[in-house]
Every structure is written in structure tokens, then in C-alpha cells.
Symmetry: none
Subunit: 287 residues, 2 copies
């Protein structure tokens, strides 16, 4: 399970590392013995320093889109991870029935009961206004598969693209992408975080055949390339990440428990780290 | 109060132990001096090892049916026990008014506001779809005794039987079984967990007379046998368990406090342990 990973891809494109690069506790390719330290140093360099001249929100405002009648824990885990990692403000956009519950988990989140299937266009407009203030979008944790909610999710992707926001797509968001891969095609600020089963379904949709399980590096790289060099993070025993050009493999040991919620923690963390990596590269502060 | 117990019955049928067997801290029958260690080893052998090649859900998905206007704590305790013990996913199926509250206790549970007395057949169909993915059912904690809810509970038992799922029946679920013992008759994956009073009422319903309090072993064994060799776990100062063939008596010392919720912790733990014991026996990994 991923420890520090996919959010590196953007900055990695500007580094001296060559593909494929492996890092983690277990083993490294001989060509990349020093990769872990370089990567860890790079991640550290992204984190905005705690100084006294910052205003509220400058270290990051993230928006999680998810939460429906059945699923309320998933968007909470995503949003609270971003906040605990260092985001200044963490918002959740969910359905009416999920909002009260998600609010009750923590007073630290800002929760918008905005997903309303009867008023889709108004909702999208209101969301667009909110997204003006955001730095990263996480789409999918506990979103559900209601047909109107998925239409709303499509609108979110379009708005994120318009505003050039990084977008992490997980869980039910990936269900949507598997139906319509063109939604993210060529959008280089998109990161998909499928597990092995979700990856297989998306790969099959795009290539018309199942991926070869014994060649995850090749398959992840091919799919990322075919989708116009978006970033794909395939979660599994080892995590394989690619933007269609470079490949990172994480052998780092995580928890062997596979209970619900772990993917949500990752997507939330990745949301804020992605923003930080963009900030660092743009300001020339990354290693 | 039970420490490790009723879920052993299924695997015990395949062991070398003879009935009656006693275990616990206080005293053992001379014939079974080593029983506690054998049992503890057996329980340990059921627990799926934590390995790095598992997918989410493989260590167990349990479904708790319970939770109504008055009772929301009971299904929470059952569901969270299963999760904390090692299940990967823990679901609660309850009434609309209970759902928001149960959700708010923990983001780790998936809570379905599905019990709706006006739409019983639709609800049962939807539940059946959900149960396709489950490994064990716990029926009764905080279920209430609304006539429509009890009809829904009947449907759950039938669905569990159809899908061959282990089902733990406690609390208000036992109220239903006392009215209609035929619902579980002969279903060997059913476990009832009555306290002494609940046991007495069920015994009287089946045999037309009260059980003899001085002979709990005989009474529990007879009732389990008469109900077609289902498993009965009679909770009390000592816990008496039987599948109508073998008998286990647990003298293990538990908490002397008898506050509400303890039975719920047991039913939830038993739900996941029963699934594990089935898995272990089926894969030949049990001792």
C-alpha cells in the first residue's frame, strides 16, 4: 500500500530520475539505489514551510466530492486526511441526506449538502463558484452511482479542467471514468487511483482486452499514455504509478489489513500533496 | 460471560473432543483437562493470517440487521465489534430514523436506512442483492418488535438460508424465533444466543414446559437437537453451548458488570468468527 507516491509524478517530470524507478523498503533497481532518498527529499521540499506571514487558506483548500445515503465515512476520511496532513480548509460536497452525518464526524470540515438531482444545473453553477477558491479536487469517495450524481460528477470534471485544478479520481469516480474515459483524456492534472480490479475494468474499456497481470508496469504505463499522459496510480501489493512516460513502483510496506477506508485516506492526502507539488514547482522551490 | 465460545461448534464437529467438554478458568472435567488449550489453538487457527496479498473484503464482510427508533447503540456495538476484531467491512441495515444516529457513531460503518415497513417487498429484494456480498449475518440487536420489521426479519432469515450464510440471532431476533421456531429448524448455520430468560421462553415454546434450571447442559442440548441441530449458546454465569450433539460449557470469568451492550459485542464478534471458522474448515486450515 502506497506510502508517499503518486503526487510525485508531476514534479518528477522535472527531475533527473529515469524510468522505471522503484522505491520502498524491500528492494530497489540497481540503477536507482538512491531513489528513495531523492524522492523523500523531493516530497519534503514540496511541503510549505510553517511561517508567520501566511493567511488562512494559503496552505491549501481542498474539495472532496462524495457522500450519499449509504456512504458517509469515505468522504469524511478523504477530507480529514487532507486537513490533518496540513491543508488549511477541507470541504465536502455531498447529498442532503449525507451532509448532517458527515458534519457530525468533525467540526473541522465544511460540508455542503449540494448534490441535488432535481436541480442539476443550478447545483453545477453554485459548485463552479465554490471551485474558484479551491486548490485541488478529490472526486469519488462514497459518491454512489445514482445516475444524476454521476452527471453532476461529469460537470465537476469539466469545471476542474476549465479552472486547471488538479483532480484525484477514486472509487465511484472511477466507475464514471470507466464508462467515459474521454472525460479525463489529455488532462495532465488528473490522477486516477484504481485498485487492481478497477484498473482492469478501465484497461479493458480502453484497450478492449484484459491487462496482463504479470506486467503491471507495462500496462499502467500504456493506459496512462493512451489516456493522454494523465497519471495513474495502481494500488496493490506494490503500487505502480505512471504518467505514460516515467514509471514509479513503490514496494514500501504498508498495513496488511485491507479494511474499508484506506483508499479514502490516500485520495485525501494525495489531494493536498498534489497541490503542494504544483505550488513548489511553479515557485521553483522543489528539489 | 462468554470469552471464546459458540463459533467453535461448527469446527468442533470435526475435532477429536468428546461431549460434554468444559473449559474456562475455574474448573474442568477430568476428561478434558487440556480442552482449553485445544480450543484456544483451534480459535487461533481460524483467524486469517495478515498477509500482503489480500484484497479489501477478503477477511470478512458482515451484515448487522438491527436499529430502530428506540435502539441505536445495540447494532453499533455489534457491527463495530466485528470490525475491530478484524472484519474488513461492517454494514448495518436499520430503519430510517436510526440510520443517521448509527452513522454518526463511527465513519467506519456502512449504514443502510433500508427497513421501511411501507415497502417490504422492495426492501427485501434490495437486501437480497446486498447479501450476495456478505459473509455473515447478525440479526436482532436493537431490531425492535414492530410487526413489519419482524416480517422483514423473517425474510432475512429465508435469504440467509437460501445463500447458505451463517446467521447469529440475538435479542429481538430471538423474540421472533420464540414465536416461530420453524424459521431456523434444521438450518445448521444458525446460532442462537439467548440469555437464561430468553432460553427459558424458547424452550417452553418448543417443549411446552419450562427447562429444569439445575440441568442446563441437558436442556440446551435437547433444544438444539429438537431444532434440527442448530447451535444454541445459552449465556449466563457459565455459558452452555450445544449443537444437539456436542456440548461446551464455559466457566471462564468475564466482567461481573451486566450493563447493556455486552450481548451485542458478543453477537458481532461471533459473526466474524463464525465466518472465519467456516473459511478455515473449508480450506482445511483449522486445527
Amino acid at each position: 500500500m502506497l506510502s508517499v507516491a503518486g503526487w510525485l509524478m508531476y514534479a518528477l517530470n522535472r527531475s533527473r530520475l529515469v524510468a522505471p524507478v522503484s522505491f520502498g523498503c524491500h528492494r530497489y533497481t540497481s540503477a536507482a539505489q538512491s531513489a528513495p532518498n531523492i524522492l523523500i527529499d523531493m516530497v519534503k521540499s514540496f511541503i510549505p514551510p510553517l511561517t508567520y506571514d501566511q493567511h488562512k487558506g494559503q496552505s491549501g483548500r481542498v474539495a472532496v466530492f462524495g457522500g450519499c445515503q449509504e456512504y458517509t465515512g469515505a468522504p469524511y476520511f478523504a477530507a480529514i486526511s487532507a486537513l490533518k496532513l496540513g491543508a488549511d480548509l477541507s470541504h465536502v460536497f455531498c447529498t442532503q441526506e449525507a451532509a448532517t452525518v458527515i458534519k457530525s464526524y468533525s467540526p473541522e470540515l465544511i460540508v455542503h449538502p449540494i448534490i441535488n438531482s432535481d436541480k442539476l444545473s443550478t447545483t453545477s453553477e453554485e459548485t463552479s463558484t465554490w471551485l474558484e477558491r479551491m486548490h485541488a479536487v478529490i472526486l469519488g469517495p462514497g459518491l454512489g452511482r445514482d445516475i444524476n450524481t454521476l452527471k453532476y460528477a461529469e460537470a465537476i470534471i469539466e469545471i476542474a479542467k476549465e479552472k486547471c485544478l488538479p483532480i484525484i479520481i477514486d472509487a465511484d469516480g472511477l466507475f464514471l471514468i470507466t464508462q467515459k474515459p474521454e472525460l479525463v483524456k489529455g488532462y495532465k492534472h488528473a490522477i486516477l487511483t484504481p485498485n487492481v480490479a478497477e484498473f482492469s475494468r478501465l484497461y479493458e474499456k480502453v484497450f478492449g482486452k484484459k491487462p496482463r497481470e504479470e506486467e503491471p508496469v507495462v500496462c499502467v504505463k500504456s493506459l496512462a499514455e493512451r489516456l493522454g499522459n494523465i497519471t495513474i496510480v495502481q494500488k496493490g501489493f506494490s503500487d505502480v504509478m505512471s504518467d505514460g512516460d516515467k514509471v514509479l513502483v513503490c514496494y514500501g510496506e504498508g498495513s496488511p489489513r485491507r479494511c474499508g477506508g484506506q483508499g479514502d485516506l490516500l485520495s485525501g492526502s494525495m489531494g493536498i500533496f498534489t497541490h503542494w507539488s504544483h505550488m513548489a514547482v511553479e515557485s521553483g522551490n522543489s528539489k
